[in-house]
């Protein structure tokens, strides 16, 4: 079991993260101090949650490019509701955000399930549609901090046992996803559908419905993150989290989740997101311009996908070696 862990993707990522932290600590000893570590985790919470949602979608051989737009729309709706009805308690807003996100996820899911449209096309379309709707409902105007109620803004910052609620939300999401993926029939179905859809059908799994559920779950997480994002940064406008969907996919790929489906783990997704989060926070500390971040995460994706391909190619029997390599 130990040797198995050492060879695993999670161990490799832990090692990479440890090296980054060690290198940064030589320049800035307080980088790994608990307070700063907690800050970094808090800063990465939303990425971790979205990466988990994206993970279940990718496990079923689909992809969801609309998560960032979904986040922005859910965030805008709850911010608008809050500015109109400031007295509405936060739990109700949370429920609204999550259900709204799930509805948007269900739109993606229905199109993939019932009409069999490739997920990349569906979510490419909904990506622009969701963002456009934000403009329509907000008239392109910003909702600023002074238009939000105090409790609305305080919720993600509220400290509980030393950590802000935002971090606890991420911890809770990780636990829920671990249970769903490892302990429920639905979680097994995600792997089965992605690993071999035809075989999954013969074992009695409804492939389309499983994919639909994956999109609904990813949508729900995006909706939740929508509220958290808007309340944390205390601003809502059309372009929030623009392009964030690619960072989420990057976190998944770095975390060893195979884009071909069926391979990946909750731990991998979390570590992949943390790796990106740590690099993002380390650059200013060691005096490298934040403009380097994009190129570094790009390189990390390419290296990660090359490593993924190598570990995946060992699995399964290759009958025609030449043909397999080139296809």
């Amino acid at each position: 079991m130990i040797t198995q862990f050492i060879k695993s993707r999670e161990a490799l990522l832990l090692l990479a993260i440890a090296i980054v932290i060690a290198l940064v600590s030589t320049r800035f000893p307080d980088f790994a101090a608990p307070a700063n570590a907690a800050n970094i985790f808090n800063d990465t919470s939303i990425l971790i949650m979205l990466a988990l949602g994206q993970m279940v979608v990718i496990l079923t051989r689909c992809i969801d490019l609309s998560v960032a737009s979904n986040l922005a729309l859910s965030g805008m709706v709850v911010a608008l509701i809050n500015s109109i009805v400031p007295g509405l308690p936060v739990p109700i807003l949370l429920i609204i955000a999550i259900s709204l996100g799930m509805i948007m996820g269900a739109c993606n899911g229905i199109l993939v399930w019932k009409l069999d449209i490739p997920p990349i096309v569906v979510t490419l379309g909904t990506l622009t549609i969701f963002r456009g709707i934000i403009f329509l409902i907000s008239n392109g105007e910003w909702i600023n901090a002074h238009e939000m109620s105090a409790s609305f803004k305080a919720f993600p910052r509220f400290e509980l046992l030393g950590l802000p609620v935002l971090s606890w939300m991420a911890v809770l999401t990780v636990i829920v996803f671990a249970i769903i993926v490892i302990r429920t029939p639905l979680g097994r179905a995600f792997y089965a559908v992605g690993g071999n859809p035809h075989a999954a059908v013969y074992t009695g799994i409804d492939v389309g419905f499983t994919r639909f559920m994956a999109f609904v779950i990813a949508g729900g997480v995006s909706g939740l993150c929508g509220y958290l994002w808007v309340s944390r940064y205390a601003v809502a406008y059309v372009d929030i989290a623009g392009g964030f969907e690619l960072e989420v996919i990057a976190a998944c790929v770095i975390g060893g989740i195979s884009i071909a489906g069926g391979i990946g783990s909750v731990g991998g997704a979390v570590l992949g997101a943390l790796f990106l989060g740590i690099i993002k926070n380390a650059l200013p500390v060691i005096n490298i311009s934040p403009f380097w971040q994009l190129a570094i995460s790009g390189s990390a994706i390419i290296i990660a996908v090359a490593v993924n391909a190598r570990s995946e190619s060992k699995k399964g029997r290759v009958i025609l070696k030449k043909a397999e390599q080139t296809t």
Binding site: R61, I63, L65, L111, L115, D116, I117, P118, I120, V121, V122, L124, G125, T126, L127, T128, I129, R131, G132, I133, F135, L136, G140, P197, H198, V238, G243, L246, I249, A250, V253, I259, A260, G261, S289, F291, W292, Q293, L294, A295, I296, S297, G298, S299, A300, I301, I302, V305, A306, A309, S313, L320, K322, A323, Q325, T326, T327
Partner: protein, 331 residues
């Protein structure tokens, strides 16, 4: 793409006229004419040669890349890094300009950077056998990231005046250099895809990569060439766009990759590979450009237009399937 979908390839039972009438391109042509008529009724400024000529700048640069992208998608791969290649090529051109080189060197630099980026994608996908969608998401960050490292929050301006011809010059009357280039490239790509052996192998690879391999098609090499072409076209688009804007920022052409893929899919190219035509892509490009222009004349914000494009993308694929389902339900 990784999806396995049984394709319905019917025998040639219908007549040629029937096939043409029922084809995707005919539908697109009808939509294009409809958009054109609606626009000319909606705004008195639409039917003006110079206004229409201005409107073509909305799509010419994107469409140049879309031609190469269409072939790439037909072969079963995709390149999401095209917009980032524009950024990198444009940055390289700015860098060379600062060194004091003239227009010919600038153009050559843009094209070369485009080809190198395409080759980089091609090597990763065909030599290392990595999935193109992830590779190009990675190179998309990498290429644009290099632009950000070089430029940061600054911009290159002050391109030589004769460089402005590519994006602002006119060949004859209202026909801009970009529009003429668009037309010439459309013909070249249509011939390449529909009339040459190379084009046939692209379809073969998209429909059945293993089968193509065993029929003697060098799949890896064909795909590599397609990545090169896509890189080259991104370089060409970078020259035109940089010349038109007269400046380079690292955020140049941000988000274009999704618009270009939308254009290709709307043009009837199967995102799973194996089917699609260049005329379809040309029509899709014109439709998207005209809709943008028409909405612009009516003071509709660009983002509302993007809702329309998104709906068009999903509707274009969903509606035929809904009709097929209803038909099946009855029969």
């Amino acid at each position: 793409m990784s999806e396995m979908v049984a394709r319905n390839i019917p025998d040639r039972l219908t007549s040629r006229a029937q096939r043409v009438l029922k084809s995707w391109e005919t539908l697109l042509l009808a939509i294009a004419i409809l958009v054109f008529i609606t626009n000319s009724f909606a705004s008195p400024y639409f039917l003006n040669a110079w206004n229409l000529s201005d409107a073509t700048f909305n799509f010419t640069e994107k469409a140049m890349i879309a031609f190469a992208m269409a072939m790439l998608i037909i072969s079963g791969e995709i390149d999401l890094s095209v917009a980032a290649i524009i950024a990198l090529a444009s940055t390289a051109m700015g860098f060379v300009m600062e060194l004091g080189f003239g227009t010919p060197v600038l153009v050559l630099t843009g094209l070369t950077v485009g080809i190198i980026c395409g080759a980089f994608n091609g090597v990763l996908v065909t030599r290392l056998g990595l999935p193109s969608i992830v590779v190009t998401i990675g190179t998309m960050s990498l290429f644009r990231g290099i632009s950000y490292i070089v430029l940061g929050d600054k911009a290159y301006t002050g391109y030589p005046t004769d460089f402005a011809f590519f994006g602002q010059g006119y060949v004859w009357w209202v026909f801009s250099f970009e529009l003429v280039l668009f037309a010439v490239l459309a013909i070249i790509y249509a011939v390449l895809l529909h009339k040459t052996n190379f084009g046939r192998t692209v379809y073969a690879i998209g429909n059945n990569p293993v089968g193509a391999q065993f029929s003697g098609v060098r799949t890896a090499r064909v795909k590599f060439v397609l990545f090169l072409l896509t890189g080259l076209m991104s370089g060409v688009a970078a020259v035109c766009l940089t010349s038109r804007l007269g400046s380079t920022r690292p955020s140049i052409a941000f988000g274009w990759e999704l618009e270009i893929v939308t254009m290709v899919v709307l043009g009837g190219v199967n995102i799973l590979g194996g089917a699609g035509t260049i005329p379809g892509v040309v029509l899709a490009a014109i439709i998207m450009g005209m809709v943008t222009f028409g909405f612009g004349l009516l003071n509709v914000p660009g983002i509302v237009m993007s809702i329309f494009i998104g709906l068009l993308l999903i509707g274009a694929i969903a509606l035929p399937r809904v009709f097929a389902m209803v038909k099946r339900g009855r029969g």
